[in-house]
């Protein structure tokens, strides 16, 4: 049968946003694929050049609307490196806590999106129900459910409210119980296993060659977690092991994220116990000269900000490295040889966020 190209997108339930996946099919088999992106390009890097360093924090929040804090946090780290500012210890712990809360919310959002991709509508309701608890915690500390605008260059915006740690512990204890139910719901479902086990595999070597990072890389057996390898903030003082799976298929990617949620819970508990008292913010200089980059383990992989200052109060150049941008161009490797019906299951397991991918 003749091969032909099909557009899956830009409007397709699989995309979870706005982008286009062109796939070349031979009958029901995917022979080749090609992502077409840019539908959500807002020119972030250019806009940031006319705004003061501090004002860009609110922009970076909107890079990924399900994982705002991790992005503005990475930007603040890079700016601090350029300005030579050291945040106070309490701020570092508050950042770790909010980052992990955000990671939990982000992974739960992914779970809520992945379930319906495979026909498990219960997963959508359950995961969003659990996510609500973490959004409430984030609201308690930052005042907003999404786009929190919380990290600041030199610390965080405000201190944790009274009894914040009590609520955190309560939510985590409740969530641990519920997560067990989620695991049963997914892993004992024959349908879920059939659609993910052995589907969309990528080897560790290919994944590294194509610049795949984050949970997608850890699903290929590589224990690569920047919180361990290039630690920032209070992570060196916290004891945890990154979750690793070895098969590199959709099921491993699911498993890594579930394990990571458990890790995040334990990180939050440790950080709450160790958090020192003291100031939560220092005043950064207004102007900056020099260049620096910082990278963090975002919910989706390696986030990198490369900031150049030329002595003005606005950055001369900001580069945003989005993990999804790299991951999505590695997707054809996972898709080739699979059936058209599996494309949705594979793309869902990569966790695409169009906001950060298109910048």
């Amino acid at each position: 049968m003749a091969e032909m190209w099909i557009n899956m997108g830009p409007q397709h339930p699989m995309t979870h946003g706005l982008w286009n996946l062109r796939i070349k099919v031979d009958g029901e088999t995917v022979v080749d694929a090609e992502p077409e992106i840019g539908y959500l390009h807002r020119g972030y890097e250019k806009i940031m050049e006319v705004r003061e360093f501090q004002k860009n924090v609110v922009l970076t929040d909107r890079l990924c609307y399900v994982s705002s804090i991790t992005w503005s946090h990475c930007y603040c780290l890079a700016c601090e490196a350029v300005m030579d500012v050291e945040p106070p210890p309490r701020a570092e712990y508050l950042r770790v806590i909010t980052n992990e809360l955000q990671r939990l919310a982000s992974h739960l959002m992914w779970l809520a999106a992945y379930g319906p991709d495979l026909g498990l509508l219960t997963a959508l309701l359950w995961a969003l129900r659990e996510r609500e608890l973490f959004l409430d915690l984030l609201q308690l500390i930052t005042g907003a459910r999404m786009n929190q605008n919380f990290p600041r260059i030199g610390g965080v915006r405000n201190d944790a409210p009274h009894d914040f740690d009590k609520y955190c512990r309560k939510v985590i204890a409740h969530f641990r119980k519920k997560l067990g139910e989620h695991e049963k719901l997914f892993e004992q479902s024959k349908l879920f296993q059939m659609r993910t086990l052995g589907v969309g595999s990528i080897s560790r070597k290919d994944a590294i060659d194509w610049g795949v990072t984050g949970p997608n890389l850890r699903a290929c057996g590589a224990a690569i977690d920047l919180r361990k390898l290039d630690p920032y903030d209070a992570y060196p003082e916290i004891d945890f092991e990154p979750a690793v799976e070895h098969d590199g298929d959709s099921y491993s990617r699911y498993k890594v994220r579930v394990e990571e949620m458990k890790t995040s819970c334990s990180i939050i508990e440790q950080a709450l116990a160790k958090m020192p008292d003291g100031p939560y913010r220092v005043k950064p200089p207004r102007r900056a000269e020099g260049e620096a980059f910082r990278r963090t383990e975002d919910s989706r992989g390696e986030a990198l900000f490369y900031v150049i200052g030329d002595g003005d109060d606005r950055p001369y150049r900001v580069k945003i490295r989005s993990p999804v941008f790299s991951n999505i161009f590695a997707a054809p490797l996972m898709l080739r040889g699979n059936k058209v019906a599996d494309v949705v299951a594979i793309m869902g397991s990569i966790d695409v966020c169009v906001g950060e991918m298109d910048k």
Binding site: I37, G38, H41, G43, E45, K46, I47, E49, V50, R51, K55, I208, D209, W210, G211, V212, T213, A222, I224, L229, D230, A292, F293, R295, E302, L304, Y306, I308, R314, R317, K319, R321, F325, S326, F329, A330, D358, K359
Partner: protein
């Protein structure tokens, strides 16, 4: 301090100190290199093959008004060291060798740098726009591409309009 010190020594031994405009350890685990564009291919091949820089984080293009720079952030997961290469590109001839033969992941990053800054990566298999529409005529991250304002939210008091 072991990893980055060794990388520094190996690079000096292989290429000689005069080959680099800049070669130093910026902080723990990070080495910064500045070279001319002609030396980029050999340097990258050496870093990839001999010094295990298996991961390409990103490629950034910077417009310095009198010249361009193509900046590479490389990581070795095994050695846990990062290398930043700033390659010097003259303004009148914005071309540089592609590193796609070494890292497949460079494909998308070079397309992005070409799209937004107009730097041509020689040897790239498919150098087309990636974020902007195919028929877009400009490279918007260049400094001569104007924005509506060069500073957002200027109050009337600051620009002398009173109020």
């Amino acid at each position: 301090m072991a990893g980055e010190g060794e990388i520094l020594a190996r690079l000096k031994e292989k290429f000689g100190a005069e080959a680099f405009q800049d070669l130093r350890i910026v902080r723990e685990r990070v080495v910064r290199i500045a070279v001319d564009r002609t030396r980029l291919s050999a340097l990258c091949a050496f870093l990839k093959e001999t010094l295990d820089m298996e991961h390409l984080s990103s490629i950034t293009a910077v417009d310095w008004r009198d010249h361009y720079e193509s900046v590479y952030h490389l990581t070795s997961w095994t050695r846990n060291v990062m290398v930043q290469i700033n390659a010097w590109i003259p303004h009148e001839d914005p071309r540089i060798d592609s590193v796609t033969p070494l890292w497949s992941g460079a494909d998308a990053h070079e397309r992005e740098a070409y799209d937004l800054m107009g730097i041509v990566y020689d040897g790239h298999p498919n150098l087309t726009r990636v974020l902007l529409p195919r028929d877009f005529e400009y490279h918007p991250l260049r400094k001569d591409f104007p924005q509506e304002t060069d500073r957002q939210y200027v109050s009337r008091r600051k620009i002398g309009g009173g109020g």
